[in-house]
Amino acid sequence: MSRRLVLRLGELVAVLLLVSFGVFMMVSLMPGDPAVAVLGEGHTAEEYAAKRTELGLDGNVFARYVEWLGNALTGDLGRSLVPPENDVVGRVLAALPVSVELATMGLLMALLLAIPLAMWSASHEGGLVDRAIGASMFAILSVPSFLGGLLLIAIFANGLGWFPRAQWVRFGDSPLDNLYHAFLPALTIALMELALFTRVLRNDLLVTLHEDYILAARAKGMPPLRILLRDALRPSSFSLVTLLGISLGRLIGSTVIVEYLFALPGMGSLVIKSANQGDFPMVQGAVLLIAAIYVVINAGIDLSYGYLDPRTRRAHA
């Protein structure tokens, strides 16, 4: 087990190095000249060249990468190019909790809805409820998230007035208020993921429910709900857990539409704004962090397979 863990960690470090190099090189792919972005239009060629040197944009790429990475490891990702020229780490760390909270809350809400729906659907295969759930999931799946978000705002915020919009209260300031303000945006995210989760889990459950050990559990007199929860759910959750890991990593960096709709200061808005302004240290820092989180989450997912299915654990020596 420990050998496997060490190997896994080695893999993790290698992937992170590759990702960080990719993120660093990304700057050269960004449209526009960073010097122009910083100084604005109407300066001489010499002034731009001088600015580029000042930003450390000439010189050996690898040397610059190593320096950047070294600084990153000590927690220094440089300063923003755009006034007020904030510390990158500070800005990113301010935006990250918003995105993480939205993504986590959205996924939890999606799971909370998807698991019972999938269990109901699978245990009544081909019945009216199963078909109704299937049809509504496809309907939800085909609604673009911005539309879903707008509808939720129109109904629950503007129409019924149950929830606020375009406000964000930090968790540290008032936890309850924070959850209250995060509810609608999280629900928007949940609806995006719900349909897929339900379909995937329902189909895996159907396969499991035809296994002999489910019949054997029935023949022991176990109640149906208990069989679903204790016998069928765990062996059926591989695809769902994999999907969950991918979704969580993806959502942290790409809830832009939801952040825009609800005017939330998350990672997505930060990256888009910085990229538009040519603020490359900000983009580098934010993307590096998102990528690192993504990689770590998926390594965790890999390790969780051992819990889900004891057969994938290495035999004890």
């Binding site: 050990y213 022991k220 007199g221 204790r230 004891p310």
Partner: protein, 348 residues
């Protein structure tokens, strides 16, 4: 009906609606079983023996496409007229089942112990500790070494034979009155098969449990059961005391089955006699006797008129067969009959 009767099956029919028509997998089967009695059910694949086992359990989910007619009473309770909750109480505590493949009938993510303790806690209301103690005792009874250590292992860490022992322990945990073993050794190594069968028989005897042993293997049934029921195309074709069926089969199908088993007493290079043809299409069975198209003794009447299952026994024990022209009884046939004495012992 005496107090001893554990199982009463009356004219049970199990029908599946398929694209090609209604398939009667079990077609009018009646039988009864007393405490401590062992019944072997034999037949080819598709003869309906496994479906009969599941129908007796009440494990067949009925609905638009599946229907069960007739009645099954276990310990006096009508299985199919019971509510799902009553049926669940019956399962495990009154009737239990051992399945064919121990590789798939244990949940791969559940520990061996949990498989047994959960039923003990549900049916007997034992607490965690008492259930674990009883489970360890059960594992010891089914011949599993180091039972305490096995409790925390996962099914994949055990061999096939050990797993089937766990399945048997699981089935026995709440002292059922009736045990249905559906091809319990088919998926196991030949060397392990005999051990498992002997274990089942001795447990059934010591617990005075009524047992149904379903098998396509006549050898598994011979010498281990009190009575044998031969099934063909969803119907019972012959049923009698095990020795009598093996020594003097009265139905041509039973005779064919017995002739297709190799025997040690045969001279080398003896050709095995197989039954020609294949079982009928169950969505469209023949009009008369279902075995008629394959029967070497077929007459015109067999093709038009379905034979009833009738008492044809000449001894004290009951011997029923569904044949218009049953084979002669060994005793009355004299020298013409092939020597079948001691056959049952030889192939068991």
């Amino acid at each position: 009906m005496s107090d001893q009767t554990v199982l009463e099956v009356e004219d049970v029919r199990t029908e599946f609606q398929t694209a090609r028509g209604v398939v009667r997998a079990v077609d009018g089967v009646s039988l009864s079983l007393r405490a401590g009695e062992t019944l072997g059910i034999v037949g080819e694949s598709g003869s309906g023996k496994s479906v009969l086992g599941r129908t007796i359990m009440g494990l067949i989910t009925t609905g638009h496409t599946t229907q069960v007619h007739g009645s099954v009473r276990i310990a006096g309770q009508d299985v199919h007229a019971s509510s799902p909750k009553e049926r669940r109480r019956l399962w495990g505590s009154e009737v239990a089942m051992v399945f064919q493949d121990p590789m798939t009938s244990l949940n791969p993510v559940k520990r061996v112990g949990t498989h047994i303790t959960e039923a003990l806690r549900l049916h007997l209301g034992l607490d965690k500790k008492a259930a674990a103690e009883r489970a360890i005792d059960l594992l010891r009874q089914v011949g599993i070494p180091e039972p305490a250590r096995r409790m925390s292992q996962f099914p994949h860490e055990l061999s096939g034979g050990m797993r089937q022992r766990v399945v048997i322990a699981m089935a026995l945990c709440c002292d059922p009155k009736l045990l249905i073993a559906d091809e319990p050794t088919t998926a196991l190594d030949v060397t392990v098969q005999k051990q498992i069968l002997d274990l089942l028989t001795s447990l059934a005897e010591s617990r005075q449990m009524a047992t149904i042993l379903i098998s396509h293997d006549l050898g598994a049934v011979a010498g281990r059961t009190d009575r044998v029921q031969v099934m063909y195309a969803g119907r019972v074709v012959e049923r009698s005391a095990t020795g009598e069926v093996f020594e003097g089969p009265r139905h041509p199908y039973t005779e064919g089955l017995l002739a297709s088993i190799p025997r040690l007493s045969d001279p080398p290079h003896t050709t095995l006699r197989a039954i020609v043809g294949s079982p009928p299409n169950m969505a469209n069975p023949p009009d008369g006797c279902r075995f008629a198209p394959r029967c070497p003794y077929v007459q015109d009447r067999c093709r038009t008129e379905q034979p009833e299952l009738l008492e044809i026994g000449v001894r004290r024990t009951s011997h029923v067969a569904a044949c218009h022209y049953p084979l002669p009884d060994v005793d009355t046939a004299g020298d013409a009959a092939p020597p079948r004495a001691a056959l049952a012992e030889e192939i068991s």
